[in-house]
């Protein structure tokens, strides 16, 4: 029973997934979307288990002061910080969503021109959009002359992690209306702190590790290109042609190098790649059928 039930469930869902590819009927598609939603929920729930796993593995090492335990402290502290700043705390309050509309006075000079004026009062780092006029906050109020009627207003910051304030004000000819506001900082995954940590700590560290790859490639290539036998010598020769063919120096020496490099890519390399791809595809289908048809049961253990 312990083995049969998972096997039957696996077969049912596996055969359904297979059938979905061949049956375009919308009922099958709807059911498939439902199953995908289940899978997404399971995947999201598993992240909680992942967090618990990290805690289970790291905490005992810190408690026992095992080797390199400070790294575990950094790991847990970083995870906790990201969790805290990743929560949308701003939803607990009621931050502004629209600009504040201030005093409204009538200016005869403006009225004579048949227009209205929106006076913008925002911090220097706030960008405003009044109708089609875009500008940035200044040392004092900024006046924008507009046509009478409804005028759309948007206040935002260039930096990510702030909510834009959007609103509308209706003005008559001669009106001078003051509009102000300070776009509030957001929390959560799109919030200022989260984005700042991601951009200023995680991304550079990520890029550094990626950049190290160049040195690893050089080290691996040095080993791979030692001509110890005929195959290795062929590899070395191909590599030399490839490098010269792809570098400007090769083309400057002779047109042969780029041509040979392209031929190596188009013919032998492409042929080999296709053979591996086709073999892998057949292997993948066979593995899939093995599981769907219940032939592969080793991972399910025994019914005992």
């Amino acid at each position: 029973m312990k083995r049969t039930v998972p096997l039957v469930i696996g077969m049912m869902f596996g055969l359904f997934a297979l059938a979905e590819f061949y049956v375009p009927h919308h009922l099958v598609g709807d059911l498939s979307d439902e199953f995908r939603s289940w899978a997404a929920i399971l995947g999201a729930a598993a992240f909680i288990l992942g967090g618990v796993n990290i805690l289970q593995v790291s905490w005992p090492k810190i408690r026992r002061r095992e080797e390199d335990w400070p790294y575990k402290v950094v790991l847990l502290a970083s995870a906790a910080i990201m969790l805290l700043v990743g929560l949308p705390w701003h939803k607990l309050g009621s931050p502004a969503t629209a600009p504040t509309i201030g005093a409204r006075v009538v200016d005869p000079a403006v009225a004579a021109r048949g227009h209205a004026v929106i006076a913008i009062d925002v911090p220097a780092d706030v960008t405003y959009q009044v109708g089609k006029t875009i500008g940035a906050g200044a040392a004092s109020q900024v006046a924008v002359e507009v046509e009478p009627g409804k005028v759309a207003i948007k206040l935002s910051r260039r930096l990510a992690g702030y909510r834009a304030l959007e609103g509308e004000v209706t003005v008559a000819a001669g009106d001078v209306v003051t509009v102000g506001g300070d776009p509030p900082m957001l929390w959560g995954k799109d919030g200022r702190v989260f984005v700042w940590i991601y951009d200023h700590i995680f991304s550079p560290a990520n890029a550094t590790l990626f950049a190290l790859l160049a040195f690893f490639v050089a080290s691996a290539a040095f080993r791979a290109f030692r001509a110890r036998n005929v195959e290795a010598a062929l590899l070395l020769g191909s590599a030399i042609f490839m490098m010269l063919g792809r570098a400007p120096l090769g083309g400057a020496i002779s047109d042969i190098f780029p041509d040979v490099a392209q031929w190596l890519l188009d013919v032998p390399s492409n042929g080999g790649r296709r053979a591996i791809m086709m073999g892998a595809a057949v292997g993948a289908i066979a593995t899939g059928l093995r599981i769907v048809l219940g032939i592969e049961r080793q991972h399910l253990g025994s019914d005992a």
Partner: protein
């Protein structure tokens, strides 16, 4: 020294983060302020509650032009040869509209309207999109088309509503086909008309509408374009069944040696002798990826062997769901070996779901715990060489397997054994030696022979120009 340096590092990172964050905060509201934007005017010391101070001359605004009636234009001819069909192999959610345009021009577009068939109180005669022109006044939507209170003329976009009609598509640049997504349980009628627009998109004139309906979308039960692929799966399934039957009669099916798989047990033995753990990495794809599934199947065998040899097994996972399944697979492997008591769930690790952070984490394990065997099975990307080279530097025996073509050269260079593509899928069956699973491998090999014959036949036929076999099978 190391601990001191790490703590110092934490402090430095914290200080840098705090300083940077402080710099990222906006200044106090309203102060300080920078220069004014172009096109805008500063008002020094303005007091908003007082009567409006004299403002410097603001940027001029374009004068409002009085309405002028559109000059008379020739009538627009309507579309012809209108057809609405249910597409082939459809899910039952689409109707394809095709027509021939009546006129072309930069200011002309074709608008397709749709409504449910049988809408109550249909007008006596329709569809005139626009009411007849009146001298000196802009045209309006016809009451017959848009209902008793037609909305003002405006720019039309997809999904706009005009009375009972929905804009299914607005075709620009001379397009003459559109596939409309509809609810599968409905019957629909369509009106297609050419419209003339101002540069801002407002409709100013329209051709007579061409009407067609009712049309119902059709849901297909089988996608005939994919029958070739279904044939492949059925052929392979048939070969598997045939070889399983053959395996029941002939017990010893020959399968060629896979040195990389044979080396797994040897390397676990080496780890046991050295008293160091075995590291197993399940790749960087999610649990539903076939490479991850193949990797987890092999993990079961590796866990069984490590349990038999009483060697520590560390499993590094990229996704938590993979971690959960891997833990269960390892538990089962230990149970199969009769050593469930030796299973340590905390050695099945979720590292992180970020590519290079994962590489850093696994490299940390390799450098700190110095596993004697590193096994990388699954889907790998740019981090493959980072992992394999670090493992090489520690002197571990390394066995890798992946179907990612771009990573195979890196693994071949840095690892002792590499399973290429299909070999990784075959490894699990190869390790069990069960006749049913070996029959699966034989079936895959037989299928490859069939595929080779098919390819050679196709190449020969195409070379002599007789027949294109590929497009005939795979549409």
């Amino acid at each position: 020294m190391t601990r001191g340096a790490s703590l110092l590092g934490v402090v430095v990172v914290g200080v840098v983060a705090a300083v940077g964050l402080a710099q990222a905060q906006p200044g106090p509201p309203g102060r300080p302020r920078g220069p004014s934007a172009p096109g805008a005017t500063d008002v020094p010391g303005a007091v908003v509650d007082a009567p409006a101070p004299p403002l410097p001359a603001p940027a001029p605004v374009a004068p409002v032009m009085p309405h002028r009636p559109e000059p008379p234009r020739p009538p627009i001819p309507g579309v012809t040869e209108l057809e609405v069909l249910a597409p082939r192999n459809d899910s039952g959610r689409h109707l394809a509209v095709t027509f021939t345009r009546g006129a072309t021009g930069d200011d002309l577009a074709t608008v397709i309207f749709r409504r449910r068939w049988g809408t109550p109180n249909p007008p006596a005669s329709y569809p005139q999109l626009l009411a007849p022109a009146t001298a000196g006044a802009p045209r309006t939507w016809s009451v017959e088309f848009a209902g008793a209170a037609p909305p003002p003329l405006a720019k039309l976009t997809k999904d706009d509503q005009l009375g009972p009609w929905t804009v299914a598509a607005v075709l620009e640049a001379g397009e003459t086909t559109a596939t409309d997504e509809v609810a599968p349980d409905g019957t629909y009628e369509y009106v297609v008309a050419e419209v003339r627009r101002r540069p801002d998109g407002t409709v100013i004139d329209a051709s007579p509408g061409a009407v067609i309906g009712p049309r119902t979308p059709e849901a297909a039960l089988i996608n005939t374009d994919r029958l070739g692929y279904l044939g492949i799966v059925l052929l392979l399934a048939g070969l598997i069944v045939w070889y399983i039957e053959a395996a029941k009669k002939k017990k010893d099916l020959y399968v060629r040696r896979l040195p990389g798989v044979d080396a797994i047990e040897d390397s676990i033995g080496r780890s046991t002798e050295m008293g160091r753990p075995v590291l197993y990495v399940t790749g960087l794809e999610e649990i539903q990826n076939i490479q991850t599934i193949a990797s987890l199947l092999i993990l079961g065998h590796v866990a069984e062997k490590t349990a038999q040899y009483d060697t520590d097994l560390v499993v590094a996972n990229y996704y938590p769901l993979t971690m959960v399944v891997a833990e269960e697979v390892v538990r089962q492997g230990y149970a199969n070996a009769g050593r469930i008591d030796a299973h340590r769930p905390e050695r099945c690790l979720f590292i992180t779901a970020e590519q290079f952070a994962f590489a850093a984490g696994v490299n940390g394990i390799i450098l700190r715990e110095r596993p004697a065997t590193n096994i990388y099975f699954g889907a790998f990307y740019g981090e493959s060489l980072l992992l394999a080279e670090t493992g090489f530097l520690t002197g571990a025996v390394q066995i890798a397997g992946t179907a990612e073509l771009t990573q195979l050269p890196f693994f071949i260079t840095a690892c002792d054994y590499t399973l290429i593509g299909e070999e990784m899928y075959a490894a699990s069956a190869y390790l069990t030696k069960e006749p049913n699973l070996l029959a699966n491998l034989k079936a895959a090999d037989a299928f490859k022979v069939v595929a080779m014959v098919f390819i050679l036949t196709g190449v020969a036929l195409a070379t002599v120009g007789a027949f294109q076999l590929g497009p005939w099978v795979f549409r």
